[in-house]
């Protein structure tokens, strides 16, 4: 695969094994500004590993990964901190710091970047509130994570991931375990992020609808609502920007558009298509 200089994330033949089990196997892809990859796959197929490898939390056994154009494979942990902090990540189990309040959790990335982007206390408060309003949880500011439901924790996790307005956000199962209404709200917010800030994202999900929404809707700044993308013709960039991966035993066994996913014949891949 040719070097893609504009890619925010670039994987070249990346493989990782845990024991004799493949968690990633010859994974190659690039992700640019505004692009979205919806990642499907059975439990244990390597989705989380892929996201963690993308920001160097896991070092692969072989292959090369570039983040924001800089190679991160075989860099020392210390050299990675600054680069990693430029991306947002939602962890599968939220991974909120349970000794800190919701406010402190969401503030954490901002405080960490004080040296690069200094903010006053008021500005910080404003950003935290804005991010929490984004996920409709402004009233939980002073609660501890243990006082929140699983779905609420996940939304706080999303707020923490996007509060610094990163150009790249990795979402590990943003809608898992949420009711359909909240799940749709969350996906709408992610689509809005993409359209307002040209954020690139990798989204691991089990819900077919999440991909549908990313591919078929666009945030309209005029009406402040999501509007359907025209079915055919026109500028259906959202559709072109949203691609689907299906993972199996560490391998990306399918990569393509929503239509291609619908037409796939492989029975494993078909499990993730609309029936």
């Amino acid at each position: 695969m040719p070097e893609d200089v504009e890619a925010l994330v670039q994987f070249d033949d990346v493989s990782t094994q845990f024991g004799d089990l493949w968690a990633l196997r010859d994974v190659s892809f690039g992700l640019r500004k505004s692009e979205t990859r919806i990642i499907f796959g059975a439990a244990g197929s390597g989705k989380t590993t892929l996201l963690k490898a993308a920001i160097g939390l896991i070092q692969p056994d072989s292959g090369k990964i570039c983040l924001f154009g800089e190679e991160i494979t075989n860099r020392s942990e210390h050299a990675l901190f600054a680069l990693r902090a430029k991306a947002g990540m939602l962890f599968q189990e939220s991974a909120l710091f349970d000794s800190l309040t919701v406010r402190e959790n969401v503030e954490y990335p901002l405080r960490n970047q004080q040296s690069e982007t200094p903010l006053t206390e008021e500005e910080m408060e404003g950003r935290v509130r804005e991010a929490l309003r984004f996920v409709e949880l402004e009233h939980t500011l002073d609660k501890l994570p243990s006082e929140l439901s699983g779905g609420m924790r996940r939304r706080v996790g999303i707020a923490r991931a996007i509060v610094t307005e990163p150009p790249l956000v990795l979402y590990d199962s943003p809608t898992a375990g949420l009711d359909p209404i909240t799940a749709n709200t969350i996906m709408a917010l992610i689509a809005k992020e993409r359209d307002v800030r040209q954020t690139a994202s990798l989204i691991v999900t089990h819900r077919f609808q999440d991909g549908e929404l990313m591919a078929n809707f666009r945030y309209d700044a005029g009406t402040e609502e999501l509007v359907p993308v025209p079915e055919s013709g026109g500028d259906s960039t959202e559709r072109a920007l949203t691609k689907f991966f299906v993972m199996k035993e560490g391998e990306i066994v399918f990569s393509g558009s929503r239509e291609q996913l619908d037409q796939a014949t492989d029975p494993y891949v078909r499990r993730f298509a609309k029936h």
Binding site: H78, F81, A95, N112
Partner: protein, 252 residues
Amino acid sequence: MLSFLKDLIASFQEFVFVAGRAFQNIFRRPHYYGDVLIQMDIIGFGSLTIVMLTGFFSGAIIALQMSRALNTYGAASQVGSIVSLTLVRELGPVLTALLVAGRNASGIASELGSMKVTEQIDAMRALGTDPVQKLITPRLTATSVMLPLLTVIADAIGLVGAYLVSVPLLGLLTGSEYWSSSWQVLVYNDLAQGLIKPFIFGIIIALVGCFYGMRTSGGTQGVGHATTQAVVASSIWIFFVALLIDKIFVNL
């Protein structure tokens, strides 16, 4: 057997690596002073009651036991010096360290262990914070400062316990005889031993606790396992290092 040895050597290597990074970070920015203070409070103040009680009773018990033995030689007046030497050189540091290991090596391991299995450590790394700097170094600093202080307190309370047994209770000697003999017997070497030991034990407790916490895997069960291992390993290391230091000081 061979693979067990291999694992042992591999984890020792890992331990040395983590320890090295924790020490390096003491001199590296950013410094999390707030976390150091919180840990000092948890480790130092939190252990104070139990350390004082244990110090008191060990002093009293040594005095009781020794007085009988000393009486047979007609040397009951020596009880102050004997208690003082045993406490300051050996029992004070080791007992205090074992108590703190039971309380804090386990506490550290379970806290970091649950952070590990709930991906909070990964989240920290993802947000650009070095977990060694933020979690291990403050615990290392706090424990190695607090343990010598706790030991000094335990020693002092132990001497009070021994005093109560040998002076008011048994009437072996007068109060001033007791205090002057217990103080005069101590030489520079004893005091040095009595402070160097807890300093090193503190380092052991913090590092072993952090090490087992950070390598926790396998959910809640793994946290329990890490906690137990941390207490067992730090206790064994404390005895081993105590022996080593004794050997060095005896030769001095």
